[in-house]
Amino acid sequence: MALSRTLRQAVPVLLLGGLLAAAIWTTRGARLEPADFVFNNGTELQTLDPATVTGQPEGRALRMLLEGLTVSHPRTLEALPGMAESWEVSDDQLVYTFKIRDDAHWTNGDGTRGDRFTAEDFVYSFRRLLDPRTAAQYAYMLWYVKGAKAFTTTVADDGGPALSFDTVGITALDPTTLRIELESPTPFFLSITSFYALFPVSRAGIERAQRLFPDTWEYEWLRPENYCTNGPYRVSFRRVNDRIRFEKNPLYWDADAVAMETVDMLALEQYTTGLNMYLTGECHWIDVPPANVIQRLMPREDFNPRPYLGSYFYRVNCTKPPLDDRRVRRALALSLPRVPIVETITKAGQVPAYGLVPPGIDGYGGARMRRNATFEEDLAEAKELIVEAGYGPGGKELPPIEIHYNTSEAHRDIAEVISDAWAANLGIRTKLRNQEWKVYLDTQARLGYDVSRSAWIGDYADPNTFIDIFLTGGENNKTGWSNADYDRLVAEANRTADPARRFELLSEAEAILMEELPVLPLYYYVTQSTYSPRLGGYHPNVKDEHYPKFWYWMNDEELAEKRAGYPDEGFELVDATGPPKGLYPPRDPRSRTDSSDTNDGPPNGSATTGSDD
């Protein structure tokens, strides 16, 4: 080898040093100015395209950037004016006429003022959502509109819609008037208009990207520098699997009410790391703390579980003996150890469930499964039912039942408790089968299970979002169960304009479900958001849906006032972390008065732990 000795010795040093220098160079600028507010969103976003997203985390990001026809009230979730200043509903509840505000503009990706916002923007966006080429998973949220379903599902040879958009009941009468005609009266339609799939996108932004990047525009228009917004914030930058930095949008129509100048949204998946960052003040709000610390969080003022529009249940394969027998299903449902599960496994105050639809929807009574006075009597009835069905002592032997769940410690723990309970109380042999998430979904859809863990989070605050899952042949039914009376009741309910009557009909449908039990209800969810006590304008609500435009930092007086409202005992005060740059008042006192009267008060554990067993 001709290499000189010094050179030889220098090679490894040079290599390592070069690598280090290159790596440091490419990660330069990774150092950030801290944001006014940092929260953990739990995962990296699928996309910022409102038409093709499907999850809560994406919803949080989109509510910062875009605004739909309406905005939900942060506490009660009733519709407040958003891009629509006001609206009128025809007497037959079929025609909605929205008055679009005339003082709103789009903001281009670089922060400059874009076109004026008009009713045409909604027509374009809704058309795009329904267009089969967009392949929007949530297109069905607009299928309540006349002609919309046919528009999406009738596909021409080139993949586009075969029908003209004129057949769909969405029209812009003039730049400030949007008329939407529905297929049938849909009482929850207004609450859908604040749903993120129905947020508008900028036609100019998309078309500009199509011109500039003919091959890659499908994701180029979503880059921060090209993404047009009409909401309280705009994207400053994004780092995949790290964060999105939001910057206040000064061109937003209600910008004066927006307090936080910069907001960071983290894509942190590890609950423990999230909690660590929260405890060290690097993050001010986490959506879920790790399950094993929940008991220690319970007394703290910053942990505030509230009823959440989610239901945890087991699906039963109603096509497979012995589970096709209603008596067997009822026996299984009666002998579920719900109270031990919520008290020893989930521990955050989840409520044992005896129905499908969670509480918290105003005016909806719902139906619960029939029970006896005590759990012991329930067990006795369950044993009798098994015998009645021809199994157990004196009858056939019950075939083993397999409990199917997706791989996760929490689900496994619950499945184990249930398996033990069924074995001990009913003498059923059980097996546990866990599968990786996507395989689990596949098995569930093919009915390749006996009993399968499931859950459902409501899309909108209406019982229909739970009830319509189990319609005959529904894509999400996944139990093989079908009941003509149930289908008829749901169809009738959703044609009924009178809200009280409609809820009665839906309750009747739920009663059928709880009599037939194709699903075994287990518990209702609670929200587990943990946030700095200093955060104002934030209200736990049944959808765990929050609008950042209402958030601000309380100063010490406000914080003391909030704390003075706590009950005398049981509240552990914690360090009220604030923004790293120190407190500063929100721009406009309006946002502060708005929220001080709705001070969410003390965390109230007792409201959510009520169990009647």
């Binding site: 080898m1 090679v11 290599l15 390592l16 690598l19 280090l20 290159a22 790596a23 440091i24 490419t26 990660t27 990774a30 150092r31 990296e44 976003l45 699928q46 996309t47 910022l48 395209d49 093709t52 089969p132 080429r133 967009t134 392949a135 998973q137 297109a139 069905y140 999406t152 599902t153 596909v155 993949g159 003919p214 890659t216 994701y219 979503l222 994004r238 780092r239 995949v240 699997n241 790290d242 983290l266 894509a267 942190l268 998946e269 590890q270 423990t272 790391t273 660590n276 960052m277 405890l279 060290t280 690097e282 990786e436 998430w437 996507k438 395989v439 979904l441 596949d442 894509e475 999400n476």
Partner: protein, 344 residues
Amino acid sequence: MLRFLLRRLLWLAITLFTVMTVTFFLMHQVPGGPFSNERALDPAIEANIQKKYHLDWPLWRQYLQYTGPFNLDDERALLPPPDGEGSGGLWRSELEGDRPAKAFGGVLAGDFGPSFKYKDYSVNDIIAQSLPISALLGVLSMMFALSLGVSAGIASALRPGSKLDLSLRLAATGGIALPNFVIAGFMVILFVFLIPLLPVAGWGTIRHMLLPGFCLGLVFAAYIARLTRTGMLEALSSDHIRTAHAKGLSSSTVVMRHALKGGLLPVVSYLGPATAGILTGSLVIESIFFISGTGQHFIRAAINRDYTLAMGVTILFTVLVYVLNTVVDIAYTLLDPRISLEDE
């Protein structure tokens, strides 16, 4: 040397082709797809999505589209229009409007495609953003591992059987036995909560990098310490060291200049596997310390059935491990004149 490199290059191509093909077809055999979701879709919507992402094509055609170099998406890009007019040549024809059809695509054209899960990014974007971070973390932990491991190994070898040797060996065994997330947990409790010195997670400043770099490197430091010790013991007992001592050289010169070179050989051969270990093992450390590196994508893309991202990261790691192993082989000849690349 040149022949050696050419041969390696050929083998790299064969390896890559095999890895790519096997991964592609295996991945598509697993139940569930990138768009399966707890909320099952209306069949019409599902068909629209399948069509948009070409999941309705037969698998061989998806594979050809993925590998490229020709874009099968638009048939007019491949074949001239049937009427023979509207020119554009064989590879490039005109669409309506003035937009040319995209003729090339796929891996062979350097395009790993759009990510199925993170729809705002192409796989190239994701790798470009995350690889430098992973590289920095990897280099840092390698430096930790080498400096800790080699010095502990030398110290052990100089006084075999002493208390120092025993405790270092014990520590090394502990380092190998303890998984890095346990070590990370201890380190976080110690240096973040008990003695608030370092940030708990994140990336950006040198202070953010210390804990993850250390935790990731520790296991490798333990291995390196043991290898160095063995190598040094062997080197120290060889004839040329005795000669060096007899010549009256100071013991530090003997150790640093003469013994270390031979003693480090086992360590150098370990560097290839160690780099692979750091690349794939960074997954855990990355998620504990919230670092947006490439390691996480390796597992998550597979879980999400993000076909393109999983393929992209697999191909990237194959190339990296292969190239680094080649570098190690070359480094070996620099350290040990007895070994020549041509003999291979």
